[in-house]
């Protein structure tokens, strides 16, 4: 098993603490079957064709940064190449700072991958079209009312002259990390709309975490209905309850074969 990056510097009062969902992503992406898929797609030099360029990994909603740091630190084992680029986005500026440190610490020793930045943003709205090779999203998936975004500007940074954060501010910032609206799918549905636009059309692949209340079978069917060879399959599961997987990782990719 590959080591989990340290997040001991992160204040979990206002940044999502790594939990079962984060660990399911780590386990799935580094599992032998998934690593084989990713090696085949990205290995350098690949089995066929000319040398390929470094893959760009984007994680939206990095939180503590544990998943992106894991990918950055273990790029060689996961992708079969070290020259991997990592980039993150979070809507919470405290998470941006935290995740940036987590990734930098994780690659200090022994990794040759290249960390770009964590930017403060809404989903992948600021990403240049078709530039992402590997996309990772652990969404706010809990069926709960979305937070009131009108407070975002006030709550997204420490306010000058005041205590660093208030209880209300911290609660708001944590809500952003878990509350997903109706069926826990409101944020994920907005993200799914962007996926075909940000992924590289030939080698792009996305990993999406879903919980049982998100109606994963229907989500996967919707993706297949995009046409143009889009595929969606469950590649990792955890927490079986009465025959239902509590959490699962769906791989989304295009296959022209």
């Amino acid at each position: 098993m590959l080591p989990t990056p340290s997040t001991s510097h992160v204040c979990f009062d206002r940044v999502y603490e790594p939990a079962e969902d984060s660990f399911l992503l780590l386990d799935t992406i580094s599992a032998p079957s998934e690593a084989a898929f990713l090696h085949d797609r990205f290995e350098h030099p690949p089995h066929h064709g000319p040398c390929s360029t470094p893959p760009l990994v984007l994680e939206v909603g990095v939180g503590s940064g544990v998943v992106l740091a894991f990918v950055a630190a273990n790029a060689g084992k996961i992708f079969g190449r070290e020259d991997v680029l990592t980039l993150g986005v979070d809507i919470n500026s405290f998470a941006c700072d935290a995740a940036s440190k987590t990734v930098q610490n994780a690659i200090k020793t022994g990794s040759r991958s290249t960390f770009l930045d964590i930017v403060n943003g809404d989903l992948a709205s600021s990403i240049r079209p078709h530039s992402i090779d590997v996309f990772i999203f652990n969404p706010p998936y809990v069926p709960a009312e979305l937070p009131d975004f009108s407070r975002h500007n006030d709550y997204n940074a420490p306010r000058p002259g005041q205590k660093p954060t208030s209880f209300e501010q911290d609660s708001y910032l944590l809500e952003l990390s878990y509350a997903g609206g109706v069926d826990g799918m409101e944020v994920t549905n907005r993200m799914l709309e962007q996926i075909p636009d940000i992924l590289d059309p030939s080698r792009g692949v996305a990993y999406l975490l879903l919980c049982a209340q998100n109606k994963p079978e229907a989500v996967k069917q919707d993706i297949r209905n995009w046409g143009h060879g889009w595929k969606a399959e469950t590649v990792g599961t955890s927490g079986k309850q009465a025959g239902w997987e509590k959490l699962q990782i769906v791989r989304i990719w295009r296959s022209t074969a």
């Binding site: 470094p54 500026s93 930017v119």
Partner: protein, 147 residues
């Protein structure tokens, strides 16, 4: 934020995506800092085809940094051979031919991965919206009326 990051970012306004002038974003009143990082020549060689060279050159000029060559270097130009004794050899007699990063590689590394925008703005050439950079973190959140 690193200049290489700007190679992959664009304006967050949906209607700007189809306009060529929304990429790259233009730095405004930037405060730059050099954050030293270990050079990885193989990475630099492999990333060359992914760089929007012309746009990157424009960025570098807007920041008042030394201009990039008009066309991207060949991967072979990023290494040079050097005759020297390995570090472990204290006698200095066991001279070997080593491949080391060329000046071109070191310059490129400096621009892409060591030159960081610590504060300032990033402006869309299409809609004119300015995104703020604070303490090295760019904020791409849009006010409600632009979403």
């Amino acid at each position: 934020m690193k200049l290489l990051t700007l190679n992959f970012l664009t304006c967050a306004v949906k209607t700007c995506k189809t306009s060529a002038s929304s990429f790259p974003l233009h730095p405004r009143d930037s405060e730059l800092e050099i954050v030293e990082a270990e050079i990885n020549v193989q990475f630099l060689q492999n990333i060359l085809p992914r760089l929007m060279w012309e746009e990157l050159g424009g960025l570098v000029n807007e920041l008042g940094l030394p201009s990039l060559p008009p066309t991207a270097p060949l991967p072979s130009a990023l290494v040079e051979s050097k005759l020297q004794a390995p570090e472990s050899d204290t006698t200095g007699l066991n001279i070997e031919k080593l491949e080391v990063p060329s000046q071109v590689a070191r310059d490129l590394h400096r621009v892409l991965l060591e030159t960081c925008i610590m504060s300032g703005g990033l402006v869309c050439g299409n809609c004119g919206h300015e995104y703020k950079v604070l303490e090295g973190v760019a904020n791409f959140l849009l006010p409600a009326h632009l979403v």
